[in-house]
Amino acid sequence: METVANLWLGLETALSFWNLAYCMIGVLLGTAIGVLPGLGPVATIAMLLPVTFGLPPVSALIMLAGIYYGAQYGGSTTAILVNLPGESSSVVTALDGYQMARQGKAGKALATAAIGSFFAGTVATILLAIFAPPLADLALKFGPAEYFSLMVLGLVASIVLAHGSLLHAFGMIILGLILGLIGTDVNSGMTRFTFDLPQMADGIGFVIVAMGVFGLGEIIGNLENESTRTVMLKSVTGLMPTRQDLKRIAAPVLRGTALGSMLGILPGGGAMLASFAAYTLEKKVSRHPEQFGKGAIEGVAGPESANNAGAQTSFIPMLTLGIPSNPVMALMIGAMIMQGIQPGPSVMTEQPVLFWGLIVSMWIGNLFLLVLNLPLIGLWVRMISVPYHFLYPAILVFCAIGVFSLNNATFDVYLMAIFGFLGYVFRKLDCEPAPMLLGFILGPMMEEHLRRAMLISKGDATVFLSRPISATMLVIALILLVTVLAPAVRRKREEAFQEEG
């Protein structure tokens, strides 16, 4: 009953004229930028973040959430139409979606993606409404030891789930943690790693790192393999799926939603892992596995539902524990802090309007996606057809002005240039930047909780093991590490990530 009352409160908030408008603008802007090839959700959100600064907190978060779904859906559109996945979670969609497009079934693939995403979004919203309150209650019992162990678990999970080499994922996390410590130490007031530059006394902005590594780094990487890509686009027709199609995608959508919802909650999980897992699952259960990779509609329906479900449920740990499970959530946390809200379990009790308004607006955002994007497909197609050599200077301009507007500081523009350079170096060395960003945002929190836990226990490190919740999380982290290091599992894991091909 309480859930209903909460959702009602959220509905009232989300349905106010301005919030609806911001949600819609967010979805449209997100899709518009997200369809641009080579721009994933992290870069899109980072680029559009400054636009939301002037808004009240509720509207800003609603708009950002809209941007996120829009960006993700836009990425899928690009993956299907031009086989250029802008983000890792659409890599799988490109496998079969692009083949469908080549067979003249682009409309059907797009509609499948939209319907699957909408269904998954609806289910995930309900899950969020049901599971967030008890989790937040549990989180209120968390002391510093529990928080520290939770972050360890989160980081270990993101190592295990990272794409490439385990060693590099580990290295990048530590590097991120160190970079996160730059700035003033809250306990002693001492400035650390600032090179005595006053501009760095408050640390490096997360957006600067994200835009540099993901925005600039990606542009340089794309220019490296610049090819004349012929955009294979005829007019997209046949959007309405037939009854037979709907029948065919029903089961994959359900499976994808279930899988995605579960994986989204995991720290380090989120949309990307969900879509990979869903594709593998669909291929395993299919009676025609040979059709996969050649335009199987199930290969679009499953992963697309899974990635949207995962995107949505990854808000659960973010909103209840204040811990980001992936770089996008880290950006959301950054946005909340800039709005003066400390993410954590108290958000739900102290700011119920914000919390429930955001949740309900997620569902409305998904509805907008379904209703707006299919009719607007002509516009998106035109945006995709803009050649990359016209596009990237404009992206660069928006990154530069966006970063400047954070603190109105040219210094931040230089920092972004440095991180752009680093981003390219990381790409060349197969060091994934996503774990680094997680470490970056968690660094200061982790140190803070570690210090407090140790202070309370008077320097006794066994406190992490003597408290049951904390111990459980550390044990899970250990089990994860041991299993993934076991040779057999390791081979399996490498095979699983090979399938993306």
């Binding site: 060693l167 160190i178 410590l181 610049e226 660069l396 197969d430 140790m454 006794d460």
Partner: protein
């Protein structure tokens, strides 16, 4: 395909970790360590930098023991131009103002593409982009960007 040791990704990634770790350790050498019960500002960063150096050593060791991918050609031209254009934008912003800075950023970065040609279409696009930025960011969102900088006596 066997790659030469000096071309291996693992080696250079390891060197990168060691470099960052050592730098962090060196810069943080005077930060007070405190005790485990009362950690100083240096405790956590020192532990992290030591771990990072160890990871770097592992990565270097792995490059000796295992076959790995080669780093491959570095795209110096896009790398230099994109990073340089961004830095130039920062440099020109206060001195020459937004409009010149934007022109510099766009033109310099655009050279990085092999399809770059400053024809009529590109020029119109450039003018539209600059106009859009002035209207939306400066007029609309009120970002305090000087349209013309100190060089123009403003």
């Amino acid at each position: 395909m066997r790659s030469q040791l000096l071309q291996k990704k693992d080696l250079w990634a390891g060197v990168l970790y060691i470099a960052f770790g050592t730098a962090a350790f060196w810069i943080g050498r005077d930060y007070p360590m405190g005790t485990s019960g009362r950690m100083g500002a240096g405790y956590f960063p020192t532990v992290l930098s030591v771990v990072l150096v160890l990871i770097g050593c592992l990565s270097v060791a792995r490059s000796f023991l295992r076959d790995g991918d080669a780093v491959g050609a570095i795209a110096w031209k896009p790398l230099g131009l994109i990073v340089g254009a961004t830095a130039l934008f920062g440099l020109l912003l206060q001195t020459a103002g937004l409009i010149v800075a934007l022109l510099g950023l766009v033109l310099l970065s655009a050279v990085a593409s092999q399809h770059f040609r400053l024809d009529l279409k590109a020029s119109i696009g450039l003018v539209l982009l600059v106009g859009f930025c002035v209207l939306v960011f400066v007029r609309g969102l009120g970002v305090p960007l000087p349209l013309f900088g100190s060089w123009f006596g403003e």
